[in-house]
C-alpha cells in the first residue's frame, strides 16, 4: 500500500496512509502516515467503536491538510487495551516442534496458492 501511495504522490496526488505497522510503512517511506498502535487489521478503528473510527478518519483528513513535509507520521492517541500484552502474540517464537511443523505446512500450502495466482495473473 505504501508503494501505491508513493506512486500517487510522485504523480501529483496527495495521499495519507492509515496503518498499524509503523516500521513497515516508514521503511517504505510515505508522505503522510496515520499510525494506530493497534493489532494489524484495525487501521481505521476498533470494531464496533464509532469514537475511534470517526476520530481516525478525522485525523487522516487533518494530516492531509497540515503536513508540510514527507515522512510526516502522526500516532493516534487511542489505545487498543489498557495493557500491552496483545503485543506478545503476533509471530510468537516460543513454538514447539509440532507447532513449527504445522506452521511450515500451512505456510507452504498458502505460498503455493499465491504462486499459482501470481502465475495466472502474469499470464
Amino acid at each position: 500500500m505504501s508503494l501505491t501511495a508513493r506512486h500517487l504522490e510522485a504523480n501529483g496526488i496527495p495521499t495519507v496512509v492509515m496503518g498499524c505497522a509503523r516500521d513497515i510503512v516508514e521503511y517504505a517511506g510515505v508522505a503522510r502516515f496515520l499510525f494506530s498502535d493497534f493489532p494489524l487489521g484495525n487501521s481505521c478503528g476498533k470494531p464496533g467503536d464509532l469514537e475511534t473510527q470517526r476520530g481516525l478518519v478525522e485525523m487522516a483528513l487533518g494530516l492531509l491538510e497540515t503536513a508540510h513535509a514527507p515522512r510526516t507520521t502522526v500516532q493516534s492517541p487511542y489505545r487498543w487495551a489498557e495493557d500491552s500484552s496483545w503485543k506478545e502474540d503476533f509471530y510468537r517464537l516460543d513454538l514447539t516442534p509440532d507447532q513449527i511443523a504445522k506452521a511450515r505446512e500451512e505456510f507452504d500450502t498458502q505460498k503455493a496458492v499465491l504462486k499459482d495466482k501470481l502465475e495466472s495473473s502474469q499470464g
Binding site: M1, T4, P14, D23, A31, C44, L56, L61, W86, S120
Partner: protein
Amino acid sequence: MSDNAPPQYICCRTEVALNVQHAGKPIEAVLDLPIRYIDRSRAYYLALGYDNPYRWAYNRDVPFVALSRPLTRSRVGLITTAAPFKPEAGDQGPWAPYNASAKFTEVYSMPIESLPDLRIAHLGYDRKHTSAEDINSYFPLQRLKEAEAAGRIGELNSRFYAVPSLRSQRLTTERDAPGILEMCRADGIDAAILVAT
C-alpha cells in the same frame, strides 16, 4: 539477570540490549513499543527454518505534494487492499485463518452507493486480536460518507479503488500502482486515503 528487574535496566550489556526478548516476552510488549514487524517476521520465518526472509520495500527519498485546494472543495478517493467476498474461495468470515485463495490479482474499483462486502482473510493481519467482524475497522467508507455529509470534504469519489497484495513489489510498482493512478486521474481525484492492512 532477574526476571523481576525493571525493564529499563535490561540494556546494561550490548548483547542483552540487542536481545528482543525480556523474561520470555517480546520487548515491545514489555516496554509498550510499536511492534517491530520487520524484525519479528524475520525471526519468525528463520525460526520456522526458512532462510530467505521477505525483504520489505525500502526507500530513502519520499515524494510529497501539498493539497491543491481545501479539503472542503476536494474530491477524495479511498483505496483498499480488501477483497470482495468470494463464496467459492473458502473461509473469509470473522476469525478466518489466512486464506490466499481469497486474494484478487488485479486492481479493481466498485461504486460506493451501497456498502460492498469486502473481507481481509487474504491478508496477514493479527488473527488472535483482530476479528475482522466490522468492515469499518479496515474500510472507512461509512465514516467518509459521514465526513462528506458534514461538509468536511467536498466530495467522496463515486467509486473506491483496490490494489492487490501479492507480495511482489515489482507487480505493485510497475503494474498496479500505475493502474490506480490511471483511475484516480480519470476521476479527477484531489487527495487519496489508503488503508494498509
